[in-house]
């Protein structure tokens, strides 16, 4: 143990080296330091997973040999550690290529701070999942917020980005505030600060309010509505590898917290589960509905993070309902689907952010309306983006399907056994998840089709080309995992089921029924059939095409010959029909001044549509406006004359005296 402690201390000390190294070596140093920690923590996690029981491994990190920082790693932590390690290493590999173009433009200090913050974001996330004690946890939580803030404002020369970063930091602290209150309430009852206290706290009595506090606090990090407002702003502002890591793992820390709390709850699980399920379902629907209307590719992906967090939350909610109904298949499939979706989402979302980073670097724009036809010029990037899109839509035979399938199965499994209330809730969730799936397909056919297919709409898109080959490797790794989980799901689902069994201490109550085992083998089988049939048809097609004449001609234009790439369907036109239906939710506004009857020769007109975020407008913008209004009224008091201020002080003291005299205070 001592050796590990010393090693970790050395890594943390050596991280200062980042500031002194040459531009080109900063990333390598960070990578080396990160790798050391990754190896240590991966070994810890694998030991935990190999253990048949859920005995947490406890590590003391200190130089003296006893006391110090106590790290507790059970299977839940171990799972998150593996996800963090994979995504962060990938992100850093990608950063090497992505930031190369900034080396000449940015000062060395900027780059150093960036890598330093990256390393500490990584360390703090690991701490978050390993530390159980309340104060240490909140400190790690805070480091995580600050480190990610520094990463987001990498391009702080742009005022808008700095503003976004600060708004992010403020919202993180509101979340922190909720958590602090929740932990303090628990502490008051149990005398312990931290997650270990929850077990005793939830043992008796009803504590729904505390659960809601935790849900709000962790929900802000996770991006559940209505706490999602920072997400669609911060992700586009940050560099791609940071968005990938933040969306891939950092927002999952919120889910981690929720799971930790949920696994300790004993009472009120029906109500709590219902709340979680409802909020998650709304997040899922709202996220994807807003995503369809975005033209900024990274903003679109950010809204999809909200959707996917919603799907994860739905799994968790179903699991909680399962606990309250005491139904094993709902518990395992619900929690299992949710937890597996954490891994899946971290894979395909980081992949999508990385490939959209490639697009951004090649074309210098994130607006998909200006792109088009990139598949011919950037074949690798587009294939990666396609795989990510298919996976995020939950289509077989890729990984997204497996977790969504588990959640669906969880919902269907006990449908005939539920009571009236339960069945209505579950069927609404089923219909909602089905709708989310359909909307996601709508969104990603749009995103992929408009960006990568057809003809280039602008010169930027025409001149785009694949830049760095080294940026492709960190995208290949997620692709391999995505395919592996999709084709051989049993390998990955088994540990997740063990995790749930361990955490809910169900091991004692008879044999665990994990109902999906046979089904997963069958899914592999039919996916295999699908691949075989597809290959057969493609081979046959290939042979056939050799025997018949094949020509290349312009796209059929209904007889119109003067074709122009600007005639193509755009992202707006693709979403036009949808927008018509979804207007009540998304609140799209049109800017046009109509042509009057008296105008015989209409003058020049412009037309624009705007899609804000209705939730943000109503819970952030409006209140801010009101408080401005009130504060401006109060500013009458601020006269700038010292006499007035002395008068205020005198009135205050008089009031204080009077109130004390009357024994009011």
């Amino acid at each position: 143990m001592q050796a590990e402690s010393i090693l970790i201390f050395i890594v943390i000390t050596l991280s200062v080296l980042i500031f002194f190294a040459h531009q080109r070596f900063k990333q390598l140093i960070t990578l080396a330091l990160l790798a050391v920690i990754a190896v240590i923590t991966t070994i810890w996690s694998i030991t935990v997973f190999n253990d048949g029981f859920n005995t947490p491994v406890i590590r003391h990190i200190s130089l003296s040999g006893s006391g110090g920082l106590i790290l507790t790693i059970d299977k839940l932590s171990a799972f998150f550690i593996l996800v963090i390690n994979l995504t962060c290493i990938n992100g850093l590999l990608f950063a090497g290529g992505y930031l190369k173009h900034y080396y000449t433009r940015k000062k060395g200090l900027n780059i150093s701070i960036h890598f330093f913050a990256y390393l500490f974001l990584y360390i703090s996330m690991l701490l978050v999942v390993m530390v159980r004690e309340g104060l240490a946890f909140l400190i790690a939580w805070e480091i995580m917020a600050i480190a990610s803030f520094l990463l987001v404002i990498f391009d702080a020369e742009e005022r808008q980005i700095l503003k976004t970063g600060i708004s992010y930091l403020v919202q993180m602290h509101i979340g922190m505030f909720f958590l602090l209150i929740a932990f303090l309430i628990v502490e008051k009852d149990t005398g312990m600060l931290g997650f270990d206290a929850l077990k005793y706290y939830f043992k008796e009595g009803h504590h729904l309010a505390v659960f809601i506090l935790f849900l709000a606090g962790f929900g802000i990090k996770a991006g559940l509505i209505p706490f999602h407002t920072w997400l669609p702003e911060a992700h586009p502002a940050a560099p791609s590898h940071v968005s990938g890591v933040m969306s891939g793992v950092m927002i999952k820390m919120g889910i981690y917290g929720i799971l930790r709390v949920v696994f300790q709850m004993q009472n009120d699980l029906f109500a709590a589960g219902l709340i979680t399920l409802a909020i998650s379902l709304l997040s899922g629907l709202f996220g994807v509905m807003m995503a369809i209307l975005q033209h900024d590719i990274k903003k679109l992906l950010a809204y999809h993070s909200i959707e996917n967090i919603g799907i994860i939350g739905m799994g968790v909610g179903i699991g909680m309902l399962g606990v309250s109904y005491n139904n094993q298949s709902m518990i395992f499939l619900g929690f299992g689907g949710g937890i597996l979706h954490i891994l899946n989402h971290s894979l395909f979302k980081s992949l999508l952010f990385f490939s959209s980073g490639n697009v951004y670097q090649a074309s210098q724009t994130r607006n998909i309306e200006l792109l088009g036809g990139l598949m011919k010029r950037m074949p690798y990037t587009s294939v990666f983006f396609l795989v990510g899109s298919l996976a995020i839509c939950g289509l077989p035979p890729l990984n997204g399907f497996i977790s969504e399938y588990l959640i669906y199965s969880g919902m269907f499994s006990n449908l005939s056994g539920l009571d009236f209330k339960g069945s209505v809730i579950v069927v609404m969730a089923i219909a909602g998840l089905a709708l989310i799936g359909g909307l996601a397909i709508f969104c990603f056919t749009k995103a992929f089709g408009i960006t990568f297919l057809g003809e280039a709409r602008t010169k930027q898109a025409e001149e785009a080309s694949e830049r760095d080959r080294e940026m492709l490797i960190p995208q290949l790794i997620p692709v391999i995992f995505i395919a592996a989980i999709g084709i051989a799901p049993s390998l990955f689902v088994k540990p997740v089921m063990d995790l749930i069994a361990g955490n809910l201490s169900l091991t004692g109550s008879g044999p665990i029924v994990t109902p999906e085992n046979g089904s997963l083998a069958n899914i592999s089988l039919i996916s295999g059939f699908f691949v075989v049939i597809l290959t057969a048809i493609l081979i046959f097609r290939h042979l056939h095409l050799r025997n018949v004449p094949v020509k290349k001609e312009p796209t059929w234009g209904c007889g119109y010959g003067v074709y122009n790439p600007r005639m193509q369907y755009t992202s707006t036109s693709f979403a036009y029909n949808y927008n018509h239906l979804a207007k009540p939710v998304t609140g799209t506004k049109k800017d046009i001044n109509e042509i009057g009857e008296e105008e015989i020769f209409p003058s020049e007109r412009s037309f624009a549509t705007h899609t804000g975020d209705p939730v943000k407008e109503s819970i952030i913008d409006k209140p801010v406006e009101w408080s401005w209004f009130v504060l401006k009224k109060l500013a009458v008091m601020q006269t700038g004359k010292i006499q007035h201020y002395i008068l205020y002080a005198f009135i205050f003291m008089l009031a204080a005296l009077l109130l004390t005299y009357l024994k009011i205070i």
């Binding site: 036809g373 598949m375 396609l386 298919l390 839509c393 289509l395 077989p396 399907f401 969504e404 399938y405 669906y408 199965s409 269907f412 449908l415 005939s416 009236f420 069945s423 069927v427 089923i430 219909a431 709708l435 359909g438 397909i441 709508f442 990603f444 056919t445 749009k446 089709g449 408009i450 297919l453 057809g454 003809e455 109902p515 999906e516 046979g518 089904s519 069958n522 039919i526 699908f530 049939i533 597809l534 048809i537 493609l538 097609r541 056939h544 004449p549 094949v550 020509k551 290349k552 001609e553 312009p554 796209t555 059929w556 209904c558 005639m567 369907y569 036109s573 693709f574 036009y576 029909n577």
Partner: protein, 302 residues
Amino acid sequence: MRLLGFLFLIVSALLIPGFILRIKSIAAGRKGPGIWQPYRDIAILFAKGQVFSNTSGLIFQIAPAINLSCIIAAAMLLPFGRYGSLISFDGDFVYFLYILALGRFFSIISALDTGSSFEGMGASREALFSMLAEPAFFILFAALAIVTGHTSFSGIFSEYTISGDHNILIMTLIGVFVLFQSSLVETCRVPVDDPKTHLELTMIHEVMILDNSGFDKALIHISTYLKQAIYGLLIYNLITPFKLNLVFQIIIFVLVQALYAITAGLIESFRARNKMNRNPKFILTISAVAWIAFVIILILKK
């Protein structure tokens, strides 16, 4: 015996399209093409060469093949009465719907791959309408899962008719309605879409494949035929008593498929296509009806 469903499916896919054509020509009082006309069309397409658009790339080339393999994979999950399906597992209808969605994903992006605004328009419509149609199927199968306590096609259909509950009659009626209407949406038939219309602006599916030719076009036709047969088979499974012997089963199967073709053909002959912006309403009605089925089951069962 497990192959039975799959084989019958292929056979009926071979016959239904021609049959619908015949019904339409009889209803219109035309001499019309023979029942084998679709096969002559496909044979001609196979013999022809291919023309690709300059704009299109890899996606356009592989999409028809992917779509067809998705539909074949989906067909493998369907049982034939008590002769189970090739592959069956809990929640297989989720796989069924999602693999069909995979095929649809590719046909949509293949339309966008040509860069034609007509095809973009078709793609947008297809994406929207199929998205709206998605929940109906799930709600219907949730209701069936409550009735039977099973969550796979084979399980649901085997328990369904022997549950001895007379209320399933209502359920069956609604189920047939929902499946039939969904099939009109999925296979692009009147009143949602008109496969024989001549103006691109009013098309959905046809306008997405304007640029496909030769072999790929043949694959697309075959996919549509198979899809129709799949819905016929689903309806058959829903209404056939489980314990019947094979001969009766086959007779009922033939009757159901024939009735399906006749109804589709007659609707096509006597009804106009919906205005495009009425389609969402039409499609959401299917979900609403499925929801009614669910509520009825809930009231009767719980």
